[in-house]
Symmetry: C2
Amino acid sequence: MGVLGKLRFKDQAFKLREDAILDATARLLAVKGFDLITMDDVADEVGLSKPSLYKHFKSKEDLVTEAMIRLLDGALAYMDELPGELGPSARLRSLLEWVLRVRLSGGLPFLPSTSPHVRAMLTHSLRYVTRALKLHRMLDAIVTDAKKRGELRRELPNDVILYSYYARTCDPAVEYLRIYGKYGDDAIVEQMLAVCFAGIAGAAPGEAGARFPSR
Amino acid sequence: MGVLGKLRFKDQAFKLREDAILDATARLLAVKGFDLITMDDVADEVGLSKPSLYKHFKSKEDLVTEAMIRLLDGALAYMDELPGELGPSARLRSLLEWVLRVRLSGGLPFLPSTSPHVRAMLTHSLRYVTRALKLHRMLDAIVTDAKKRGELRRELPNDVILYSYYARTCDPAVEYLRIYGKYGDDAIVEQMLAVCFAGIAGAAPGEAGARFPSR
DNA sequence: GTCTATATGGGGATAGAC
DNA sequence: GTCTATCCCCATATAGAC
């Protein structure tokens, strides 16, 4: 072993510390959002000093981008592990449930929704965009399949379904239900899934479908 | 008239300028969000200098809170103007449509969703909370009524419906549809309403209702 | 690679003239 | 009440010792 083993050990430790930093970043992102995070916060959370952070990530934007990339990787890995016999609609449900549970356990920043600044930052990262596009295409195919089977409403365009779906992953209703509604995590997930897929409207189609011209 | 008339004229001008400031604030909030707005931005947008802003509003938080209050007042006024014969579900649709159209025309900050900081700030304003509570109670009664009529799903608790409804007013899907989907405003509003009330699931209840245990 | 100490810049808020 | 000029804190990022 010798020198090579030592180097690999060092690399491992380095990687572990990086993971710890990214964990802390994700946790803080979920609580404070991008703008209000300070590098001091992250450093304190990990138990490192600020300059050490900059040895790992060259800027705050880089750090946050990396955390978001890891998040997408988690989602992609989750999709890969789903059993092959699962139908398209169930796949969508399952992924949304996973994302909501990650969020409820304090891990996930509901970030892509936030400021234009953050969106611009992420879309300028090739590595992020690559993963986002891969996931998007995968989900787009699933939606198409689900519509074919009648599991999703055929009259809705794919992008309307997908963007609404993405929005549910960062839906503030989750926070409201936890803070004001006093629901447990399981109940929140269940309700969110129900509303996402079935909507809030009941069986009376007359009134529910009625429109009132605004202005 | 004399002195009194002059004073009233001055007050009117003052009020008009305040409205202009609040308009600009709302516009900027919609674009940049609370954290990224600077008082210089607002001053420039209105064509005033920064210290003059502070003659009208004692702090940035005060300014933004006031803008949000005016927004709620607008919603309350809109609800008052709805024709009495309109059913509960149609009232909900109509208000959501109004909010979305305000947002699409660049006016509305989808704020209450954002950071804990902003939420704390607003909940500490008695005037804001009063209005929010008034609107909330009004909508709660409407939801109860709608469920009774079968226009909304009876198995959903009121707060689940309401928080989901609130979340739709600041749904990032609107931005995505405009930016990537290239839809017109009318189409976006229509799709958003459809998804909100009817969900994305289709008529095949077997698969759509299936669950997959996460983890 | 890790720390203490510091440079730099931006933005909220104000002083003081007019 | 409006402006110009300024204060001052805070947060990103770095210099330099160990």
